[in-house]
């Protein structure tokens, strides 16, 4: 028995450590080989690293284009930062980088730059506490990398991509999953496009980072999709935030951010579509929300009580359990829900459009008693989707004195959803067919049960008349 256990422990130990080496079939090479190649190259020249696993930590101190061509593996073997770029003008391309340390106090990263600009592209990063970390590395480009964090508790993970005082960077087409955040500290004028972040904490997280455009990013199953804090003049355009359902679970969260533009985004099945915490906070600044699609969230739009001066126009809010709500007893009436006579489409709007101009004749003023109760006692959310909830709302409708104040007023609600620009996967025909077959199957089953179970044994032939 104990011998058996000993053998299996050995197997596990062996299986854990020199993974790459045994897989490649070749013995691992020391990182010094790569350092040697760099030292031999001209400054700014291209170094192609031959296929193989290189173990150790790499310091790059001169401009170089380092190309792994997809077959070179840089393995830190669980110690510290794997690649550290200490000079501007470095490109790291086509590597698999893995095996950082785990001590979060020293923040070990797969690739760290402390000078800029640098280019980090087409790399695969796995088993890394921090993925790509740019510290004071302005003008850099991080493109088309795949980052997978260590399989740790979310609280002990590091960030997938982090920028620190790095202005003017481009972060695009990266895929990050199982990490903590994609976080941007004190970095301005960024372009963040078409990144995919999933199963992490904050999909995109801004701290004190201004004047940036985020477009076409896909943030799924994170705790929060995009969380902007103390960051101004940011545009979110055409991003998709779906199934972000952590403890706070915001599709987009804004805390003390001025002059934000949120347009053409799709916010699907998050706990809260858009969360506004005192944004905008400065006098004279505004927030603009235009043409976003907010669907299947528990709360479409949630705001702290004092939130004001946001403009909402041409948004589509469909099938959110609560379209809009304010924390506590607050209300959203200090925000504007129509611009130039164009309001938003609310799927629970019950008014009419007599003149056919596409604008409802009655203002949209949601007054949900159940919503008001929810604001007081969140535990009551257990009772949503039940007839009892309908009963509460019905009672409130029947007894106007029970009706709470309207949480918001949209004076020009749209009666038809405007054309969507947000993304949304079309239903596959396969699923449709399964549904059709399923439906027919159920009907057949019902018929067969009636046929078999309800079969009436006949006794003799049916008589032609009653004359017998």
């Amino acid at each position: 028995m104990s011998r058996c256990a000993y053998v299996s422990v050995c197997a596990v130990v062996l299986g854990c450590f020199p993974v790459g080496a045994s897989r490649a079939g070749d013995p691992a090479k020391p990182m010094g080989e790569v350092e040697g190649l760099i030292a031999a190259a001209d400054p700014g020249g291209t170094v192609v690293v031959p296929p193989g696993v290189y173990e150790g930590n790499l310091r790059i101190t001169q401009p170089v284009i380092l190309d792994g061509q997809g077959h070179a593996v840089l393995d830190g073997v669980g110690v510290g930062t794997v690649v550290e770029i200490r000079a501007p003008g470095v490109t790291v391309r086509g590597f698999t980088v893995r095996g950082t340390g785990e001590n979060i106090t020293v923040e070990p990263a797969a690739i760290r730059a402390i000078a800029g600009p640098v280019v980090i592209e087409d790399n695969t990063i796995e088993d890394a506490l921090f993925g790509i970390d740019l510290r004071e590395s302005p003008g850099s480009m991080v493109r088309n990398n795949l980052v997978h964090g260590k399989d740790l508790d979310p609280g002990r993970r590091g960030d997938g991509i982090r920028l620190w005082w790095s202005h003017g960077c481009v972060i695009e087409d990266n895929t990050v999953y199982g990490s903590r955040d994609l976080v941007f500290w004190y970095s301005e004028n960024l372009r963040i496009s078409r990144n995919r972040v999933s199963d992490s904490r904050y999909g995109l997280h801004f701290m004190y980072s201004h004047d940036t455009v985020l477009s076409g990013n896909d943030l799924a199953r994170n705790s929060v999709g995009v969380y902007l804090m103390y960051s101004n003049r940011i545009t979110l355009d055409g991003n998709t935030m779906r199934n972000n359902r952590g403890a706070s679970g915001y599709g987009i969260g804004l805390k003390d951010c001025d002059d934000i533009v949120v347009a053409n985004n799709a916010l699907l099945a998050n706990r809260v579509g858009v969360y506004l915490d005192n944004s905008p906070s400065s006098v004279g600044s505004t927030g603009l929300f235009e043409s976003n699609t907010v669907v299947f969230n528990e709360i479409g739009l949630l705001a702290t009580p004092i939130t004001h001066d946001n403009v909402f126009t041409a948004n589509i809010l469909v099938e959110n359990e609560e379209p809009a709500a304010a924390h506590g007893r607050g209300e959203l009436t200090h925000n504007t829900f129509a611009r130039d006579g164009v309001g938003n489409f609310w799927s629970d709007y019950a008014g009419f459009d007599r003149d056919g101009d596409g604008i409802g004749d009655l203002a949209y003023e949601p007054r949900s008693l159940f919503g008001a109760m929810l604001a007081r006692e969140p535990n009551l959310r257990l009772f949503v989707h039940s007839p009892a909830q309908q009963a509460v709302e019905f009672t409130a409708r029947a007894l106007p004195e029970l009706r709470p104040q309207a949480t918001l007023v949209d004076p020009a609600p749209l009666v038809r959803p405007p054309n969507l620009k947000g993304s949304g996967a079309a239903t596959t025909p396969l699923r449709t067919r399964a549904m059709a077959f399923g439906g027919l199957g159920l009907l057949l089953f019902a018929g067969a049960t009636v046929g078999v179970f309800g079969r009436q044994a006949a006794l003799g032939p049916a008589p032609r008349g009653d004359d017998r």
Partner: protein, 293 residues
């Protein structure tokens, strides 16, 4: 008349049919009667029309964009099921023994070589089969409509909805049968069934809401009390199967998902199974106590 002599000749003594055989005979008769009855057709029609209407309504708003998620579509269907199915099953169950007793047909049935347990179980099985049939028609038509209009619900989740609904129907039927056994008159049985329906659908939830507000109940308390109601168990079960997590139900749901994890769906299904079995068992025992086996 002359054949009687021939019939009454010497032969082996007649035997009672096997337990399951007799039960099945009752089940089939009950099923046939139910399927041919007006209430059954009416309920089936109402359920089908409403289910299709809900599917249509929900599809007309987002169907063309094909977003998936747990929205008001499913919620609407869920609400509908939670209103109609218990009503249907409770009243059907309430009528099954009390009605026969009132018409005087029960004693004649019991004078046959059957046991009371067989009569009751047979009726239960027959009615349950009829209810499942009715649900299959409603859900089937609705699924066809969803398919035709490119549905946004996966069929697996939909099938689970049907299964859970069938379980709900059986639980409610079982309560209805118990009411029927306890009531002397069928009007009383129907009245009690309606009251129980009202209680399960509205009053208990409203009471629990008030309790939560007044006593500031903790999440585990709210969850524990809510799960006692088979309708809540049904709702949570459906949501768990569609969403893999109960977090749409706020802190209480999140607590449940965290505390019970993957076992939650089984736990909810088991709760409903208990609701299906215990009242039925009680009905069998009470009914059998009034006569011999």
């Amino acid at each position: 008349m002359t054949t009687i002599n021939a019939l009454a000749g010497e032969r082996a003594l007649p035997q009672a049919r096997s337990f399951s055989g007799g039960t099945l005979a009752f089940a089939r008769r009950e099923f046939r009667d139910a399927v041919a009855s007006r209430w059954f057709l009416l309920y089936t029609l109402a359920f089908t029309v409403l289910a299709v209407a809900v599917s249509f309504m929900s599809l007309s708003s987002v169907g063309t964009h094909g977003f998936a998620g747990f929205g008001r579509t499913t919620a609407g269907l869920l609400n509908l099921v939670m209103l109609i199915v218990p009503l249907m099953a409770l009243t059907a169950g309430a009528g099954c023994i009390a009605g026969e007793r009132e018409r005087g047909t029960l004693l004649y049935l019991l004078a046959q070589p059957v046991s009371r347990t067989q009569v009751l179980l047979g009726k239960y099985v027959g009615l349950a089969a009829a209810l499942v049939c009715s649900l299959c028609v409603g859900f089937g038509v609705s699924a066809c409509v969803l398919a035709w209009r490119t549905g946004s619900v996966g069929f697996g989740a939909y099938a689970m909805l049907v299964c859970f609904t069938a379980l709900l129907a059986m639980a409610m039927l079982s309560i209805g049968v118990l009411i029927s056994v306890l009531s002397r008159r069928s009007s009383v049985a129907t009245g009690v069934a309606l009251f129980v329906w009202l209680t399960l659908v509205f009053l208990s939830d409203l009471g629990l809401m008030a309790g939560t507000l007044i006593f500031q109940l903790r999440v585990q308390e709210v969850f524990g009390l809510a799960i006692l109601n088979p309708l809540q168990a049904f709702k949570m079960g459906v949501i768990v199967n569609m969403n893999a997590s109960l977090d749409v139900l706020g802190p209480v749901g999140a607590y449940a998902s965290q505390a019970f994890g993957d076992g939650l769906a089984f736990m909810l299904a088991a709760t409903m199974l208990v609701w299906a079995l215990v009242p039925l068992l009680a009905a069998v025992v009470l009914f059998a106590r009034r006569g011999s086996a």
